[in-house]
């Protein structure tokens, strides 16, 4: 819960940064309302921090830590996480990391502006300065950024250990591995991917920090180091990271779709296997971010093939979701709209990813707005649509209060429309060759960006409206929180079968009065004659999991 609140606050910061540089892109050189004039270096710093914040301080806490801490214990039918103290420690380390990052805006020289990937030489100050002043270098934007990221990794590692141990050890009686809700599976797979890919980057970040503050030459070719080493260490983590963000959101979808289609989830076990396959593949594709870094073309081919292969498990998961909807009696509630919106938008993001996976096309599109648009079409639905779907779905359970559905739908349509308005046209700008790190094309007189400035302006206006429409959500949230609790109405409003809906709402400390016992899988819907036309997991009786779900 604290993670999600922290995530929302940081999303505000990230959104404000986005507003500033979007405004600058559409109206270069002009003074920005609420901010003032944006210097080119500041532009770079803001773009960098926007990326950092949205991935590490919004996506990670909301999707992994927030959902994990809230959902894992109650969905597997236990009282709390395995290590509550570790959990608290993890949150406070995360909190400090956010403060360190925000501090970096106010040190001399400003925040780091070399892109969220932090490639040397720009991020390794030791290049120019072999004997840096230790304290001055430590309190530079670069070092603070590295420190903040490192602290955040420590926090997430601790959280991940907690998730996996809780899931392995504290499941309710009868809650076998293949009776766990998909979201629990996916949160665990995501934690494992994170834990096993982040290690080399922790070492690499340590080396980068030393390059800055002590003046070592790990990434300095003059002294036998290699800047490409950082790219490998970074992307060995950086690529799996997108699946760390994607899997929990897909898990949320797997919970929501069967409830509102009133059908068992199509292909429960294959979905889990596909996610495991994607987890293995995810650590084998990282160099597709480095096609223009001078890697061996034979290696590039390998990584191209790997990248295109990884679309198979995810296509499998998405098709299973659509097959779940097929022939269901669909109820277009607010969470369901967000879930379906997610699928629609992610389809665009996923398909453009196929283009970029091929090294021949990537060499052309690298670092253009095509890439930027591609990953916003994947990450925005993932982080925000996934998050809002989860909020509208579980809010009644965890607060005992209800959100306003009409405002929820308005929020959805505004977000959906303005998100597409912001990004879709920028695909064309990207194909035209607009570079992601150039803030003002008017200084490049040979490049004619004039025809594309209209798209820039439309995009910026939509982006501002997109940010403004999030206030609908905040208004809805706060007015709903001010209501009185209604435990009866919010006990199981969606007629869902998983364990969290059998607890009181909001769940008391310890979640359950009596630990539930589990008799079947999580998605037994459309059972004729049963109350709510579904079999809750904790009601004694027959189980259909073997003939229904496979």
């Amino acid at each position: 819960m604290q993670y999600s609140i922290m995530g929302i606050i940081m999303a505000g910061v990230g959104g404000f940064l986005a507003y500033i540089f979007r405004y600058n892109l559409a109206y270069p050189g002009q003074s920005i309302p609420l901010f003032g004039h944006l210097a080119p270096l500041q532009y770079n710093a803001f773009v960098t921090c926007h990326g950092m914040i949205m991935v590490f301080w919004v996506g990670m806490p909301i999707l992994l830590s927030g959902l994990g801490n809230l959902l894992i214990p109650i969905m597997i039918g236990t009282d709390d996480m395995a290590f509550p103290t570790v959990n608290m420690l993890s949150f406070w380390i995360f909190f400090v990391s956010a403060l360190v990052l925000l501090t970096s805006f106010f040190v001399p020289g400003g925040a780091f502006g070399g892109g969220w990937t932090m490639y040397p030489p720009f991020s390794a100050g030791g290049y120019l300065n072999r004997n840096p002043d230790f304290f001055k270098a430590l309190f530079s934007g670069t070092s603070l950024m590295i420190l903040a990221v490192a602290l955040e990794f420590v926090a997430m590692l601790m959280g991940g250990i907690n998730f996996v141990v809780t899931t392995i050890n504290k499941r309710a009686k009868g809650m076998t591995a293949f009776r766990m809700p998909i979201v629990v599976w996916f949160l665990n797979i995501a934690s494992l991917i994170f834990m096993f890919s982040v290690g080399p980057l922790v070492a690499g970040a340590f080396m980068l920090l030393l390059d800055n503050v002590v003046g070592t030459g790990f990434y300095d070719p003059n002294r036998g180091g290699d800047p490409i080493l950082w790219e490998h260490l970074f992307w060995f983590f950086g690529h799996p990271e997108v699946y760390v963000l994607l899997l929990p959101a897909l898990g949320v979808l797997a919970e929501i779709l069967p409830v509102f289609a009133r059908k068992p989830l199509f292909a429960y076990k294959p979905i889990i296997y596909l996610a495991l396959v994607s987890a293995v593949l995810s650590v084998l594709v990282w160099a597709h971010h480095q096609f223009v870094s001078g890697i061996d073309p034979r290696m590039a081919t390998f990584f191209s093939i790997g990248t295109i292969l990884i679309s198979i498990p995810f296509a499998g998961i998405f098709l299973s979701f659509m097959a779940t909807l097929w022939g269901g009696s669909i109820r277009m509630t607010v969470p369901m709209m967000w879930a379906i919106g997610f699928i629609a938008l992610f389809l665009i993001g996923g398909l453009t990813g196929l283009f970029l996976g091929s090294n021949t096309f990537d060499i052309y599109a690298h670092d253009t707005y095509f890439v930027v648009t591609h990953f916003h079409y994947t990450l925005f639905p993932d982080v925000f649509f996934g998050f809002f779907a989860a909020v509208y779905f579980w809010f009644p359970k965890f607060t005992g209060k209800t959100l306003n559905a009409a405002l929820g739908k308005l929020h959805f349509w505004c977000t959906f429309f303005f998100f597409n308005g912001t990004w879709f046209l920028l695909f064309f700008n990207g194909l035209h060759g607009q570079h992601r790190r150039i803030n003002d094309y008017s200084s490049f007189s040979l490049i004619n960006m004039e025809p594309y400035m209209t798209f820039e302006k439309i995009s910026t206006i939509c982006a501002i409206l997109l940010i403004l429409s999030q206030f609908i959500f905040l208004y809805n949230l706060f007015t709903s929180l001010a209501k009185t609790k209604n435990p009866e109405l919010t006990k199981n409003p969606w007629h869902s079968a998983t364990l969290e809906w059998t607890a009181d709402s909001p769940p008391p400390h310890g979640n359950f009065k009596v630990y539930p016992e589990v008799y079947r899988g999580p998605y037994e819907y459309s059972v004729p004659g049963e109350v709510d036309d579904c079999y809750a997991q904790n009601v004694p009786g027959p189980s259909f999991e073997n003939n229904e779900n496979l």
Binding site: D79, G199, P200, A203, T216, G224, F236, H509
Partner: protein, 202 residues
Amino acid sequence: MSTKQQHLTLSENKIPEGRLGLWILIAGELVIFGGLIMSYLLHRLRYPQWSEMAAHTSTFIGALNTVVLLCSSYTVVRAHEAAQKLDVAKATRWMTCTVLGGLIFLIDKSVEYTHEIQEGFTFTSPSLQHSGDYVNSLFWSYYYIMTGLHSLHVIAGMVVMIIIMVQIKKGKNLHRVELAGMYWHMVDLIWIFLFPLLYIAK
């Protein structure tokens, strides 16, 4: 939490929680060192000149430290054995041996660092120009970061052991002796990799 209901919960495959968590932590630590070792190896293969630098490390002290760490791993196993028999005094004795082992390791390491720094091989090694080749100096950066990070783990292990010794004196958390032992074995194992890579391969 406080309301420990009739304990229906908890899965059938009951591995103690602490042990399970520690296994995952160890796996994570190994990946961190794995990344470092991999980076070092790739550079080492690219620059055969590094062997000249590796010749300056003291194989004798390295070997001595290997023996010390292996012995301290043995003593922590004895501590675990004693803890299983609920023999607190014996467990404390054996753990003290392990902490002493760690201390000897750190003393050796400081002696070694002192020698190397006196010879001019520092973390950043600007004085290496006399060999006419900057490329070599990175060996020392890797040497210090790998052994330094490992030494930090040794210190962490010692601190943890002292905390656990205080706890078992009060008669609680006897099972944590095993966890400290597991962590110590990991520290030991990493050294087994570092020793040949940095000292023997010349």
